[in-house]
Symmetry: C2
Subunit: 413 residues, 2 copies
């Protein structure tokens, strides 16, 4: 393996040495080889996609403010019977070690499977979180924040418990599917006898370079999705997304961390696709092609929620998704949505088993996901076309420092 | 939609006009925008991946000699009860029209879902085939080639009939997952009342640019896979892969076509990963890191099958996969393997439901897949680590000419 591994490291090393910091939002640096000589022969400057790496270490974990990746895995584990705080700490140390190496383009510490040989890290990120049940299992309930209290029930929920919750949560993202799978397998192997897979889901986004310039993502309904996301350049971004230093001492381990809400939202695409374009735009409150509000402008124009049409009705209907989810309608509640689409083939009726792996980030779910979802649950025109099929809420600790593992401040603090 | 659609067409039009023919193997031209000004900011020259398009029309259908794409869907349909030759012909006309438009970066002919708006065609290909049962359903058994006779049973087969065969087969490939899904949905809609989904599978390969230069693919076992594929530059490539003009008149509709064998090959990855690197290399007969035969050289060096080691045994074991599948060991049988990897999460035991969507192409399966698989079935060391879970054999007609639909020479000939 030596020759190939050195070649791989050489590539990545060169990328790092000549690297350009493209973004430092949230402390996670993205490095990319600067290449002006690439031809489009293989659909992109050769190797530039592969050579892009995202730092594992930082104030915050990677995979929160990192640009959307083309491929993703999200999965949950339960600690094995008999495993407690000691085993959990050892596992988090193994996982952090593996993630630190793989995200730098190195091989796994133990018996690398070879699946990613020849590929660079391709923007690989690995993000770890703890579910509510993790704290009973590890005897740490005294340090469990109230923000991890179970989410309220929503009337439209059709949740599958077997695909919800879990002691430990892992999010993997990469612009290359083999790199993502390689990381998944390495982390599963690390789990060993300490933890067992509870559920796993796969997702995707657009490939880098598919659009002429970076654009807001589209989901599988064809909607521009993510326009209203808070921007790292906004003054209150950090306060909204990451836990601040004002928490009680027993929760200090979460300072710099964030809470992730993860929902498998099935889209009833056959039903949706039967609606006319005009009907779809009334449901969303935006123009499908551009994402602009129905009251005009472009994608980033604020919706004129008070505007009345010639028919005497609001131009953006009272139950339009864009109206009900607007921050102005939710006391300023804000979350950073960073989803993947999913598509698991067809169900027994031949209908697509597809939709959105909704993942949102916030410093406090009670001022992010919960109030927005409560509002949507009561009157969103989109509800008829979607179904929440699973749910999880996870405390995602801050990023690891050099020599540290994720969660160490909780498990050894 | 008009603004966005024109913008999209503009991008693709420019790519075509300034286009460079990168490969003409098998008659399917690949066009790509030539871009020297791309920065690596989004992981590739912006838009170059998206702007790459593959001609739908040609002597052969696209998706056979087209370079591997990052995302794929394969699916089969059965004609609906009561549907026959007339409905099949109308469906093939609708499908060909949709495929012709989408592969050129245009929207679908009817009620486009918008999912791919803003993305170029991203090397989209759509390939159509007919299964054995199609000919009974359409009253065309007199024109069914013997090459479509059911494959023999293999001792290691564990086939699921519900995921095998089917009247109609469709393969979709693209370097962008949303573009591929968009095409899938458009084709499903076209099926209307004429045909019903029978099965569907999703797959992936490396993203363009993940490696420093184009390399032979790796599969989910970590093996270099595809080294011995026939090359379009070889003198007998066409004769081996595409049906020649020497067939009887009743089969003339297949001249320029090819036969696809499609197998869902589950990899028992937990079992495989428990083997040491040395054990894995004995099973395959090649070095894992480089793909070179155990007898030395590099990936493209011919294996020295007669070479004896210091222990008096063949260096490449008698049951090594590379030995048993070597063309020299199979009377020169050859097929063009063009697979996708698959990964459908974990099964009820927590084991990965992952492996290879094996797709191979040949002018005659009795001189391609069948003799090689017979040999592998009897003594391949790899058999212990894989399981064939589904099987299909399809006649894939030649490419459509201008104004023609795929299969027209059969259905209206």
């Amino acid at each position: 393996m030596e020759i190939s591994r050195r070649r791989l490291l050489g590539t990545v090393g060169a990328a790092g040495a000549a690297g350009l910091a493209l973004g430092a939002a949230g402390g996670a640096l993205v490095h990319s080889e600067v290449s002006g000589s690439g031809t489009a022969g293989s659909g992109g400057a050769p190797g530039s996609l592969g050579a892009t790496r995202v730092d594992f270490q930082g104030d915050h974990q990677a995979g929160i403010t990192t640009p959307l990746q083309a491929k993703g895995h999200v999965l949950a584990f339960d600690l094995a019977p008999g495993a407690g705080r000691t085993e959990a700490a050892a596992l988090m140390r193994r996982w952090s070690d593996t993630a630190r190496r793989l995200t730098a383009g190195e091989t796994a510490p133990v018996a690398d499977t070879g699946i990613a040989l020849g590929s660079g890290p391709s923007s690989l990120t690995v993000t770890f979180g703890f579910g509510h049940s993790f704290f009973e299992r590890t005897g740490l309930t005294a340090r469990r924040p109230a923000a991890l209290d179970p989410l309220p029930d929503f009337s439209a929920d059709r949740l599958d418990a077997r695909r919800s919750n879990g002691d430990l949560w892992v999010q993997i993202g990469s612009d290359d599917a083999l790199v993502a799978f390689h990381a998944l397998r390495a982390l599963q192997k690390d789990a060993g006898e300490a933890a067992r897979p509870r559920w796993q889901m796969n997702g995707f986004n657009r490939s880098p370079g598919a659009t002429a310039s970076p654009m807001t993502a589209r989901n599988l309904m064809g909607q521009v999705d993510g326009t209203n996301n808070p921007k790292p350049t906004e003054a209150d971004f950090d306060r909204r997304i990451f836990v601040q230093g004002t928490v009680p001492p027993e929760h200090a381990w979460m300072v710099g961390g964030s809470y992730a809400v993860v929902r498998r939202i099935r889209m009833l695409l056959d039903h949706w696709d039967q609606q006319s374009l005009a009907q779809q735009e009334q449901v969303i409150g935006r123009t499908k092609a551009t994402g602009a509000p129905l009251t005009g402008g472009d994608e980033t124009t604020a919706p004129a929620l008070d505007k009345i049409g010639a028919d005497g009705k609001p131009v953006i209907p009272s139950n339009a998704h864009a109206r009900i989810s607007a921050p102005a309608q939710n006391g300023g509640a804000a979350m950073l949505r960073r989803p993947f689409s999913f598509h698991d083939g067809i169900d027994a009726d031949g209908a697509p088993d597809a939709g959105l792996l909704f993942i949102c980030w916030q410093a406090d779910p009670s001022r992010g996901f919960v109030p927005v979802q409560r509002k949507l649950d009561r009157g969103d025109a989109l509800s008829e076309f979607i179904r929440h099929e699973s749910s999880g809420l996870y405390a995602v600790p801050p990023g690891a420092r050099a020599g540290e593992y994720v969660g160490q401040r909780l498990l050894e603090g």
